[in-house]
Symmetry: C2
Subunit: 234 residues, 2 copies
């Protein structure tokens, strides 16, 4: 108890002396402000820059900034160079809108891939996620978004024309719509389905259901309903 | 059930045609390998660079890379520049080892801060976390690590000499040891305490106890024991 008692004295002393900053004033300002005050402008700017990335809050940004600071010089410069290269060299595939450094991406050029099936996704980054499964060996098409009337995004804002052109070439037999399982993604899927079916091409939608490793107890009723509807014979 | 039935046919077709990549082959290689194959070398290098940062796995690195790709050019270049500036301009304060762009950091130069109390931390980044509380208005000293015999780190590897020199100047009345609540941090605290007390300076240790907002049910017994020992009269 002696140790604790000493600390409580110290705490009292502290309370009396230091004007405690209010939570408001501590939280105000941009993400890097306090870091800049304590550890210099360069850290502050770094924290601010990292905070602009998705999923990176102030604390993560600070941890990253200090990590870069303690890295070997070449490694840190390598990260900066990778960012510059990425912006300078990457563009969208003229066929499918995948990210590539050439006019046409590696997946579109790969003759071993089945040209009779196209998987339609919202964003180029989704292609990477689908490729990870290793199960689909056809081609892709990224719409660069989804139909969202509330955000003022209509079909004309998406890369749908390019898709229809590809389909009219006649090689494609099936279009798998892998837009997100959201209202926007679903709206886009329905729109595309109505547009493509008249071309005599099979249109499918990826399955709704329980996520692998999930617990039925925690699934929302819409998901459970879809999982039931989509049941398969064993 | 019709929809589900259609999908099951499609799934069977897929199983028959595509040689499914084994989990091993999919997980092998460096973090950016698959991203590079699907979306180009620049994305791959970016994913690899980001994966070298703490707390950033392959998936987060990919999300960050795609976020940078869709950023305005100037914003992305700003992040790269912030990294370069950080490495080029930041150094350690010659007094307390805080991060600074000058010889002596802002906290050491601030005449309004109480020079009679020094808070000792393991890393310069800890200073920022303590400053955030707004409760301590004294000076700091970063040891640049903690004593860890297993890793071959002894007291001579830490910035302890500089601390003792500062204490011998005679202004300091209290040293608050805020090393981590770990075996290394505790060992370092004990070592410093034995070293500093003979100088006639009060040595205190930050409190162990339950974290604010935590649940006693989930606290480990060591923490609960320390919380009991450190109890304070209300």
């Amino acid at each position: 108890m002696e140790h604790g008692g000493q600390e409580s004295n110290i705490a009292k002393k502290e309370d009396g002396q230091a004007p405690r900053t209010s939570p408001q004033s501590r939280r105000s300002g941009r993400a890097g402000t306090q870091a800049a005050e304590v550890s210099g402008q360069a850290i502050g700017r770094m924290v601010e820059a990292f905070s602009s990335l998705p999923g990176i809050g102030k604390k993560s940004a600070e941890r990253l900034a200090f990590a870069i600071l303690s890295m070997p010089r070449e490694e840190a410069f390598g990260i900066a160079q990778a960012i510059l290269d990425l912006k300078n060299n990457s563009r969208y595939c003229t066929v499918c809108n995948n990210i590539t450094e050439d006019d046409i991406c590696g997946l579109c050029r790969d003759a071993k891939r089945d040209p009779s099936r196209i998987c339609v996704v919202e964003e180029p980054s989704n292609i990477l996620i689908l490729e990870r499964t290793g199960i689909f060996r056809g081609r892709y098409h990224a719409l660069m978004g989804a139909i969202s009337p509330l955000d003022g995004i209509g079909p004309e804002d998406l890369k749908i024309d390019g898709l229809i052109e590809r389909l009219k070439a006649g090689t494609v037999k099936e279009v798998i719509i892998a837009t997100n399982p959201t209202v926007k993604g679903e709206t886009t899927a329905l729109y595309l389905s109505k547009l493509i079916k008249p071309l005599g091409i099979c249109v499918s939608r990826i399955a709704y259901g329980l996520p692998v490793g999930g617990d039925i107890e925690y699934a929302d009723e819409n998901t459970v309903q879809r999982a039931l509807e989509g049941r398969r014979e064993m």
